[in-house]
Symmetry: C2
Subunit: 120 residues, 2 copies
């Protein structure tokens, strides 16, 4: 093995990394008071079904909370990032930042080609 691996991306949480969920979490992180379902759907450009499915996954992981209420007699669903969600999303962003910076760095200073030992 050429060197100790930082390429395995162990810190990248698949739950957050999935594109639609990353989009939802980015939107919610920018709107700490929460977002109404239809606004979130527009922001993330997801279908009703897709948004619902990913909100359920995020809620089950306790990264977001879902509040149901009524406004002008219409049911309203509001999603908010939970404290755990904020923590995990920030950790994810930090990992992502490191991946980008080391990838850009290795573009400028490529690693040497690994030398494979000759079989005996």
């Amino acid at each position: 093995m050429p060197e100790k691996s930082s390429y395995a991306l162990d810190g990248i949480d698949r739950l957050i990394h999935e594109k639609a969920r990353l989009s939802i979490l980015s939107s919610l992180a920018a709107h700490p008071a929460g977002l109404v379902f239809t606004d979130l759907k527009d922001l993330c450009r997801l279908t009703d079904g897709n948004l619902s499915r990913h909100l359920t996954i995020l809620q089950e992981a306790r990264l977001i909370s879902i509040h149901k209420s009524f406004q002008n007699n219409r049911p309203q669903t509001i999603a908010r990032l939970s404290p755990l969600g904020q923590k995990r999303f920030t950790e994810y962003l930090t990992e992502l930042e490191q991946i980008v910076s080391s990838a850009l760095k290795s573009k400028r200073h490529p690693a040497p080609t690994p030398v494979r030992p000759k079989p005996a």
Copy 2:
């Protein structure tokens, strides 16, 4: 809709975003001369089957090239990032950089809660 959406992450290419493939492409970007299958497997901490599967996907998308040769009478598979792969990976990193920087910025300066018009 509260504001024009940058949350939909349109620039994020799912082909590259998938965690195992991101790991493979990061490894190859850091080793421009290419990597032998077993080294790549160790670096990315993937199983043989998983690595093969993702290499095929990346090769079909022309992001990498696969070279088969013999070393000491043993078959050797070497993967290399193609020029297209380099271009697309750099574009992906630029997108990722923007997501991280705007997410960290919006943590400091949250967007206002959208005001929904009352139904007539």
